[in-house]
Symmetry: C2
Subunit: 262 residues, 2 copies
C-alpha cells in the first residue's frame, strides 16, 4: 500500500453552492467524477467537505462548542443526515462513471479528543483499497471524549490518513487557484505561489471564508495540512472548479496550483 | 447500560414493498416512527433489513458467494448505496418525529469471517446510546476475511449486539403475526405459537420467503435469533405491519406475537 495511495480532497465549496443551503453543484460534481474516471488513478481515496450541507446546520446547533444542552442532540443527527445526503450525491456521480465508490462514515468508526483526531482505525480502509474499491469519506460529526461531540473536518481526515496510509500524492481541490501573496479579489498584483515551503507559509494572505465555515476556512485548512507536510509530504492545492486541473493533478502533470513543500 | 437497552429489528419486508424494487413502504415507516416515538423507550437501538433495496441487487451481484470476479466489485458499492437510501428514509421518518436517529454503517466498522460476525466494536454505539442518540444500523455488505466480502444481515447484528450490549428486550418486527404450526396462508387450522422454547422450534413450520431473500428468510432468521435465546434472552416476534403491535411490544405490554424462550 505504501507509496501507492492518492488522497483527493474535494472541498465543500466545490461540491455545493455555498450560498444556497443544501444545494449540490451537480455540474461540478459530474465533471469531477469524469476527471477522476479519466485519470484512472489505481489506488484512490476521496474525502469531501460539507459546504452548504454541513456548515450552516453545524453552526445552528453549535456542534463545535461540544455538548452543552440536550437541544443539540437532534442537531448531531441532523448534521450527519445532511452530510449523508451530500455524500450520496458524490457517490452517485462516481457510480455513474462506473467507479466503485464506497461511502465510509467517520461517525461510524471515529471519534476525537478535544477536537483532535488522535487515532483512526484504518484496517478496513486499507482492505477496501486493496479490493479496488474507492472509499469516500467526509467531514462528519463525531463523538469527542472531552467535549461530548465535535466536528471532524475533511482536512483533519486528509492529514491523518495521508500519514497513516503513507499516501503517494495528496491533492486538495478548492475554489481558488491556490495560495496567494494577497487577496486576488482585492489586489490585482496578488501573486499565486506555485510552490511554497512550510516555513514561508506566513507570507501567504489567508483570509477567513466569507461563507459560514465552522471548521475555520483556509487558515485552518492550511494549518491542518501543514501536519502532513511536516512529515515530509507535499500537498498540492488546485482549483477544482476549473476543468481539467484535478485530472492533471491526479496524473502528476504540470498544473496551476500551489505545492506546499516540507 | 446492562439491562436497559431495547433492540428493535424492523424487517425489510415491513419497510419496503417487497415485490417492487427500491420502493419504500412510506406509510408503514411513518406509522412505525410514531409508534416508536410514543413508546418513549429510553435506550433504544434500531436495526433494519434490506427488503427490495438490498436483496435483489445482492442477488444480482452474487454478494453472498463472496468475491469471485472483478465485475462484482461495483455490485458491492451498489448494494451499499441502495441500503444507504433505505436507511436514509428510515432515519428521516424518525427525525420527523423528533427522534435523534443516527445512521451507523456496518460496512464502515464491521467485517465477517466466512459469513460469521466474530467480533464487533461496540464502544461507539454504547457512547451514542448514553448520549441519548438513537443508532440505526442495517443489513449491509461487509468485507469477509475468508471469501472477500459477504452480507452481514440485520438478524446477525441483532443477535451479536443483543449479547454484547446485554439488551433488556429484543423485538423483531416482521410481516407475519409470529411463528405458526403450519403455513397460515394454506392451512386455516394453523396455530400461532404465543410462546415457544428453543427446543420446540422444530415444531414450527418455517418456509423460505417467496420474495428474493439472500439471507435465507424465516428459517435463517430463527436460526440466527436462536443464538441470543441460547444465551438466556427472550426474543419477541411481532407483526410490524399491524398498527400498535410494535408500540405495545416496546412498552412490554401483552401483544399478539411469538415469544421465543430459552
Amino acid at each position: 500500500m505504501a507509496g501507492e495511495l492518492t488522497i483527493l480532497k474535494l472541498g465543500g465549496s466545490v461540491l455545493t453552492k455555498k450560498d444556497r443551503p443544501l444545494t449540490v453543484n451537480l455540474a461540478a460534481m459530474r465533471r469531477l467524477a469524469r476527471e477522476i474516471k479519466n485519470a484512472g488513478t489505481r489506488s484512490l481515496l476521496i474525502i469531501h467537505g460539507g459546504g452548504s450541507f454541513g456548515h450552516p446546520l453545524a453552526k445552528r446547533y453549535r456542534i463545535m462548542e461540544g455538548l452543552k444542552d440536550e437541544s443539540q442532540i437532534i442537531g448531531f443527527s441532523r448534521v450527519h443526515r445532511a452530510m449523508m445526503e451530500l455524500n450520496a450525491a458524490v457517490v452517485d456521480a462516481l457510480l455513474e462513471e462506473g467507479l466503485p465508490a464506497l461511502p465510509v462514515s467517520p461517525s461510524s468508526f471515529a471519534s476525537t479528543e478535544g477536537g483532535e483526531l488522535r487515532s483512526l482505525e484504518t484496517d478496513l480502509l486499507t482492505k477496501y483499497l486493496r479490493m479496488g474499491l474507492l472509499p469516500v469519506l467526509y467531514g462528519d460529526v463525531v463523538l469527542d471524549s472531552k467535549k461530548g461531540f465535535s466536528i471532524l473536518s475533511g482536512d483533519q481526515l486528509v492529514s491523518k490518513l495521508a500519514i497513516e496510509l503513507r499516501s503517494r500524492l495528496i491533492v486538495i481541490g478548492v475554489d481558488v487557484d491556490g495560495l496567494f501573496s494577497s487577496d486576488p479579489k482585492e489586489d490585482a498584483g496578488a501573486k499565486l505561489f506555485r510552490r511554497i515551503s512550510l516555513k514561508n507559509l506566513d507570507r501567504v494572505k489567508l483570509k477567513p471564508s466569507k461563507n459560514i465555515d465552522v471548521t475555520g476556512g483556509m487558515p485552518f485548512k492550511v494549518k491542518e495540512l501543514s501536519k502532513v507536510v511536516e512529515k515530509g509530504r507535499q500537498v498540492l492545492l488546485v482549483n477544482a472548479l476549473t476543468p481539467r486541473r484535478i485530472y492533471k493533478a491526479l496524473l502528476g502533470e504540470e498544473v496551476i496550483g500551489t505545492v506546499i513543500d516540507p
